[in-house]
Symmetry: C2
Subunit: 751 residues, 2 copies
């Protein structure tokens, strides 16, 4: 590797460390804030204990599963190395398998650490936000956003640092000498990190998603419906479990999701970068230039700094003082501030991707600016996703209103309208994804000397263009994740304020922030699907490159008219539907246990409803924890096991078919579930806010039949948008990382 280029690796390392230090600074800043009244602390401690209890049990389970998986991978790969005569890309059988297993565990560990620390800070932030809300919206916004930013920056930094370290330690992706092609061995090691991250993310999101919805549904059905007490009422034994759920589902779950996205996209882009370098070296007889491989790492590193500056833009302003706010809604003010930060992050990202392309790739091609444009496509795509998600899930637009109108004729028409909206929303999102991929590919293919390759009819420059677009989209990930984690923090702060009996003026502020949090959570899901779609596309390009570089016959013939490939593709699509079915049903089963426990407590101690004795919160937390962990295993194993079995039995090309069609089906279903669920939720809120009127102009508000119908839709949407949908993002990427890690095995078995 050429030493000047090598120094560029300092960018991801240094920026990651800066981000970690920054997260530490933010955490100290948040934790130095005061912790409010005695009553607030009591509630907050219960949430903290519940979250700790869940996370430690969950991570213990995940750790066990990960160690088992690492051993299985090690054995499978060692077996492969045996098949190949004990030598894989210059490594001995044992070393090859060991590297992959270590890398897998390292990825799993980084993801776990990021999730754990981030959650820990988020849970401690809640009470500080509740307390800050007593002083006005400015303080509350700042504490909650910065608390969320701790998760945001830790996740992105650990992901980038991890991939960079694995790359440095386990060597280059490019050939080192005549006769030795270490690509397969180093690829496997690096991809191992991504697989470890996906593995943890799947179980973190699935377990968290089941937990949060089981607690939510359980608390609502017995509390609100049967006992007739309001939301977040301290008499409800499940209320703490519900508040814990917001943290473990939205905060830890989404953090693991984005951790994995960053890792997987980096890895995919690096593998494609290696292909570009080798292609150019072959064509113009120069040395393979590692700049193509390092560029993605540098871009993500710069993105961290841009996000960091954007985060600092979100600060208290004079306009936030109650005296100056006039009649502006505190939520609008907060959203406006965060939008400012997002714009700053995006503009800085656009500038720095051009600078990086010029400095790093300028030596490799005169047309580096085209790659800058590709990055810009990615940045604009993330804007488009954010806008579309708002269109489909916010009350001010047609889709949510349509569902609210349909609620007038009862729950059946509400459900039909919601499903119609869910199915429909795939349309515009798919067009944006197609536009982004198409444009970046077209731009990249214009770079001279990087045109069509006859063996696969694909332009190598075009594919690299799509990789750069993905990187562009991901530059703002730190900032977006901060906005996302802001959601559960404000939600919890609201719960603490309600349960501690604080005055209405305080509750109004947390309510406004909570509303903003719902929007930012929805936006992150949109961002998550978009990035998952682009990442998956990169990863399956990378997979086929690996097959090709390993001389698989017809490496690019992933022809669905070939029966084994068609069969695998059908199985891939079916896997998505079956997984969704299991995830939805898991919520129902876990909620059942919760419902029975709450009923039992109400029966056993009538003092709870009278407010004279305290319910046993911890027992509900423990039941929800146990049920979530039990229920996450089956869908998890299905998602991990199916691609492995298909690859082993049918071979590497059918595995590619499964990967590709499974990915497409996954994108569709994730869109249906996330945005359909979000639209149902907001149709209910739209009615609650008194926006729906009958023919005679009377308001159909809370407790009207239309509202009851909308509550049905909201309940159906809950497991859609918070369990199955977000888990599908991860399944999509998991399919890629698994097949990439095990590609050498599939190839060896089907030679």
């Amino acid at each position: 590797m050429d030493n000047n280029t090598l120094w560029w690796l300092a960018v991801p390392v240094v920026t990651s460390i800066v981000a970690i230090v920054f997260a530490g600074y933010l955490a100290r800043w948040v934790l130095a804030k005061d912790t409010g009244t005695e009553k607030m602390r009591e509630v907050s401690d219960a949430i903290f204990d519940g979250a700790q209890a869940f996370l430690s049990r969950q991570y213990r389970t995940i750790a066990t599963l990960a160690v088992v998986a690492a051993i299985v991978i090690g054995i499978l790969l060692a077996f492969l190395a045996g098949l190949s005569g004990g030598d894989v890309g210059g490594l001995s059988a044992g070393e090859f398998a060991l590297r992959a297993a270590i890398s897998f565990l390292f990825g799993a560990l980084c993801s776990g650490v990021a999730g754990y620390i981030g959650m820990n800070v988020a849970v401690r932030s809640n009470i500080r936000v509740a307390s800050a809300a007593q002083r006005g919206v400015g303080d509350a916004l700042l504490v909650s956003f910065r608390g969320g930013a701790v998760t945001g920056f830790l996740v992105i930094a650990l992901s980038l640092l991890g991939v960079t370290l694995v790359y440095i330690v386990f060597g280059a992706l490019l050939p080192v000498g005549p006769g030795v092609n270490p690509a397969i061995s180093t690829t496997t090691s690096i991809v191992g990190f991504g697989f470890g991250a996906s593995f943890v993310a799947l179980f973190a999101q699935l377990g968290g998603g089941i937990y949060t919805k089981a607690a939510d549904v359980g608390a609502d059905l017995v509390g609100k419906v049967e006992a007739g007490i309001p939301e977040d009422d301290p008499r409800n034994p499940a209320v703490i479990a519900d508040l814990v759920g917001d943290n473990v589902g939205d905060c830890a779950g989404r953090g693991a999701d984005i951790f994995e996205s960053t890792a997987a996209e980096n890895i995919g882009a690096m593998i494609l970068g290696a292909s570009v370098a080798l292609f150019l070296a072959h064509n113009v007889a120069q040395n393979a230039n590692p700049a193509w491989v390092i560029f993605p790492l540098v871009v993500v590193g710069l993105g961290i700094i841009c996000s960091l500056i954007g985060t600092l833009v979100v600060r208290k302003s004079q306009a936030m003082e109650p005296a100056n706010a006039g009649n502006r809604d505190p939520g609008d003010i907060a959203m406006g501030k965060m939008n400012q930060g997002y714009y700053v992050t995006s503009v800085l990202s656009a500038i720095s991707i051009f600078v990086a392309a010029g400095l790093l790739l300028g030596g490799a091609t005169d047309h580096w600016w085209i790659l800058g444009l590709c990055g810009l496509v990615g940045i604009i795509t993330s804007f488009a996703f954010v806008f579309l998600t708002q269109y489909y899930t916010a009350g001010s637009f047609r889709p949510v209103r349509e569902i609210a109108e349909a609620s007038k004729t009862g729950p059946a028409t509400n459900i039909i309208a919601g499903l119609a909206v869910g199915f429909e929303n795939t349309g515009l999102f798919v067009l944006v994804i197609c536009g982004a991929i198409g444009l970046a590919y077209f731009l990249g293919s214009l770079i001279p000397g990087m045109g069509y390759v006859a063996s696969n009819l694909i332009s190598i420059g075009g594919i690299y263009g799509t990789a750069v677009a993905t990187m562009g989209m991901l530059m703002s990930a730190g900032f977006v994740l901060a906005m996302d984690s802001f959601g559960p923090i404000t939600d919890n702060a609201g719960g603490i304020v309600e349960m501690s009996g604080a005055p209405d003026s305080v509750r109004n502020i947390t309510d406004a922030l909570d509303g903003v949090g719902n929007t930012t959570k929805a936006l992150t899901k949109g961002y998550g699907i978009g990035s998952a779609a682009l990442a998956a596309f990169l990863l399956f390009s990378a997979y086929l490159d690996i097959l090709n570089s390993n001389h698989v016959q017809g490496a690019y013939l992933v022809n669905l008219a070939n029966p084994p490939i068609f069969i695998a593709a059908l199985i891939g699509a079916m896997l998505i539907f079956l997984f969704s079915s299991l995830a939805i049903r898991a919520v129902g089963r876990a909620a059942q246990g919760m419902i029975e426990e709450v009923r039992r407590q109400f029966r056993a101690d009538p003092g709870i409803m009278e407010g004279t004795s305290k319910p046993d919160y911890a027992r509900c937390v423990s039941i929800s924890t146990g049920a979530a962990l039990r229920q996450m295993v089956l869908p998890g194993i299905l998602a991990v096991g199916t691609p492995i079995l298909v690859g082993i039995i049918l071979g590497p090309l059918p595995a590619a078919g499964l990967l590709m069609v499974g990915t497409i089906a996954g994108i569709m279903m994730a869109l249906v579930m996330n945005n359909g669920g979000g639209a149902w939720d907001n149709a209910k809120k739209y009615i609650e806010a008194g926006n729906l009127k009958d023919d005679k102009g009377n308001v159909l508000g809370k407790r009207s039949p239309a509202h009851e119908a909308a509550v049905v839709g909201d309940t159906v949407g809950d497991p859609f948008k918070d369990t199955a949908g977000p888990s599908l993002h991860i399944v999509i990427k998991l399919l890629s990382t698994i097949t990439l890690v095990l590609a050498p095995l599939f190839i060896a078995l089907h030679k």
Copy 2:
């Protein structure tokens, strides 16, 4: 073409004519039956008039659309012929385009005629069944089954005869002389027939599906829910429209669906047969043997005779006499008789496919018996589909019970459980499809000399094996379609009995037959998806063969990692979701008009509810008709236009990507909608039958909260299972026939 083989073409021609004569005989037999009481005739006449009114308006609309489409196709293809220098496969530009357009119109016409006559007989059968029910179950079964068989045999016979005639008139699929490859021109002509059939089928099913559910939902919501009168009550102004709907949706719609399946599968198999013949001729230097092309036609022809014998097995037996039936349910007796007929058809089919393979293909390969085995795989697959559909939609099994249990906790859990079952059911069905394709492919690849082709890694014998399996599955189509049309006839007979105030004993018999009809309708949908999946697989193999024989670069590189192909594939999946959204929403919109009309009539004339004045049935029929026809246009144009645009803009390989992934997504969504909808329906019936009990053992029957929750699920399922789901079968095949017809254009534009 060798003359001895040519004579085999007499088999499909003669068997088709026999079937048409047989249908005529059955129609005379049914029409000779008596037409019951004066009151019955009054109701029946209203249904007859309504169905006639809808069908004539619908077919007028479809005819207009078809003529426009034929002109567009003609112009597009003539334009292509211009591009190719005025000569396509030995035909002049004008003749090439004209042939395709004529063939398209002929296909459309045959489909229309089959649907129209079949419907006509079915609608006249209703009253004769109602009257026969006064004489016992035996007579009623016979009249309704034979009335259904008229549709069944007409549809299959016209489909087979049409394809055969086009083949005879427009010449062989095999090259006729050196330097001239007429394959592309004759393929386009023959495929034109299939496209015409798909085109009519799409609009017939979509329009009929929207009509039937709009009327059903409208009649139920205002009649049962608002006015509190029972189902099929003559005071409900929408009741006739509802009864008309059963005929136009289930009977005409499904008939068009199966017409198209038979045509498309025959065409796909013939194109693959031509590939086999050319491959063998090339390999062993013999003349191309047309037996491979004709075999599918012969098999379907023999299937007609087997179905005919099976139909004659369904006859009145001593056990059916009330005196001998004991306490056996009349429905069980009827189902048992039809099952007997199905078994006989299947066994005869199995025997005759071996005989045909031996006689016709014995000269071409010593291993003809392997192809017989492939046919057997298809016959067994159709059994497996029938069994699985029953498992997922019948009350005696776990899925329906699970939904019924979930109804105890309200509509939200009912919906979640139903969706979970819908998503889940893709699992086993996909495994059966995979098993069938995999096994037939494996068997076929064992035929010596028909192994792997290097250019696409596919065994040509294996692909032909899957084609034969599809033919095997389709042999019983005539019988299955008779069972399906039996459903709406008995349903209508029940309505006539109810509305004419006949005694309970008569109603009991029609109720029992109606229950059987629900089962047979569900089975046919399962059969429809299975055959659509296999047909689509054939058709896209055929499509790639056409690309290859036209020297498209990388004809088999339908590689989803290639951005334009990935984009097209995403659009294909999205098309399915968007189409479903539009179809579901169309029902809602059309139902809205119906609801308003029924309310208006009740308000305008209070005598209707008192039973002193007759409601205006005709107006409801006319409103439903207009709304259905308006609402079917947008989803129809979406399905037809998208593949054309993608093929023209992105080219033939992306069109293949759209076709394949759209097909897979379509299979999934059709399974979810058909069987999810069926399960919801039967969960409601399960509760109505008093099978659901609470913790204390009390029955939760009609009008319990659990029943109300189940009614919500049933209403959601209605547009799923009767509008969107069955229309998706057709969309799947339409995608193939469109791309096949326009393949030459896509190729020429992207040379």
